[in-house]
Amino acid sequence: MNFGDEMQIIGFTLWVAVLSTLLILPPGLALAWILARKNWRGKSLVETFITLPLVLPPVATGLILLKLFGRKGPIGSMVHDGWGMDIAFTWRAVVIAASVMSFPLLVRSARPAFEEVNPRLEQIASTLGAGRIRVFFTITVLLAKRGILAGTLLAFARAVGEFGATILVAGNIPRKTSTLSLAIYQCFQLGHDSTVWRLLLISLLIALGAVWCSEWLLSKPLSSR
């Protein structure tokens, strides 16, 4: 594996992690808010379903995704027939696997953060003339930002390190679906020790960077002037 290949893998992994985190943010925050604020019959079922990717073996999640998004699967065949596009064993599958695996982490961090926001503040904001969307973004999200941020960074880190589900639904195709984790595994199997160490160091730097960012942002005071 040459320098160009390594750079491509690092760039692709970061791109997948950023894209999957951005993709899960709107539904993840909406779901976390609904779970924090609303009660309905079957709520615990939804909670269980969201937690599944965390407790299932990643390979099992990958297999479910392959059955759904493969060319013969219900979603994969629909997309193939409708747009002539494949999902499994393409970059799209890598993004989907990363999104599915990191989604529960975002929801589970954002939900308690929303629960901690005093609903009375939201009510009073509405009496000041603010509509629901303005209240959500200027009061709820800003007051819950620490939990949201922590969840976002966790989701990003999870997406960077995703392995089990990705290898099943996307494979490890060089310059197409190969990510840092998959490349480390492959190089280790082939005995390319120097490459393994380099990729390991880069993984470590990305993880440290994400954690440092999260600590720095969380240490900033809540009150703004």
């Binding site: 009073i124 000041l128 003339g129």
Partner: protein, 224 residues
């Protein structure tokens, strides 16, 4: 102002809030012991609670009509043009004093209610750059009142605004409220369990017990 509160039924624990009345005055007090349903009534008027039934009109404008088979009207709180100062003030802790005041501030052309005038009247001009956690109890209370005034409310809802203040600050704040009423000519609904405040400030009073209005009239006659 004329406030019509018809067919009000709201489930509270351990009783229901039941009300069928109409009241006219500039500053109307809602007086009663703690837990008698006063705050729930303010929330209902503000549109923050869903009643089993209620028809609420402010100066003839329909705000809520629920429990009527023909129609269901629930004007959202954001459109009622209210200024609400809740008991716990609910200042936004992540925003500065200036940003709290600006949150609902509506600028009108040649109006009396401007940020400068209100902050001067309430003596908070020097606090604008501060964070909420840096304010004293009295300062927080004045900021909450200013924030409510700056929305150009049709009605000001004050929920025991002086309850958490010490006696000296309380009398000063009562003077301030009187000045606000005279200066800005705003109708107020004033919740309290202190009879003295009512005699000083209000021209009508509703006396509450266990979710029901048991007496209504001028403070001098009703409270005696």
């Amino acid at each position: 102002m004329i406030l019509e509160l018809q067919n009000i039924r709201l489930s509270l624990e351990p009783f229901d809030l039941l009300l069928n009345t109409s009241v006219e005055g500039d500053v109307i007090a809602i007086y009663g012991p703690s837990g008698s349903g006063k705050t729930s009534l303010l929330d209902l008027i503000a549109g923050l609670r869903r009643p089993a039934s209620a028809t609420i009109r402010m100066n003839g404008m329909l705000w809520t009509d629920v429990g009527n088979a023909k129609q269901r009207v629930e004007m959202p709180p954001s459109r009622r043009c209210l200024g609400y100062v809740p008991q716990d003030l609910c200042l936004f802790p992540h925003l500065s004093v200036f940003k709290n005041l600006s949150y609902g501030y509506k600028r009108h052309g040649d109006d009396l209610i401007t940020l400068e005038h209100v902050t001067e009247t309430l003596e908070i001009s020097t606090l604008l750059g501060r964070g909420i956690s840096d304010l004293s109890g009295g300062e927080k209370q004045r900021v909450a009142l200013a924030r409510a005034l700056l929305t150009h409310p049709r009605l000001l809802l004050l929920d025991e605004p002086l309850a958490s203040l010490d006696p000296s600050l309380k009398s000063k704040s009562l003077e301030l409220l009187k000045r606000v009423q005279t200066e800005f000519q705003l109708p107020m609904l004033y919740v309290t369990h202190e009879a003295g405040e009512i005699l000083d400030l209000c021209d009508q009073v509703l006396i509450f017990e266990r979710g029901q209005c048991v007496r209504q009239g001028t403070p001098a006659l009703t409270l005696s």
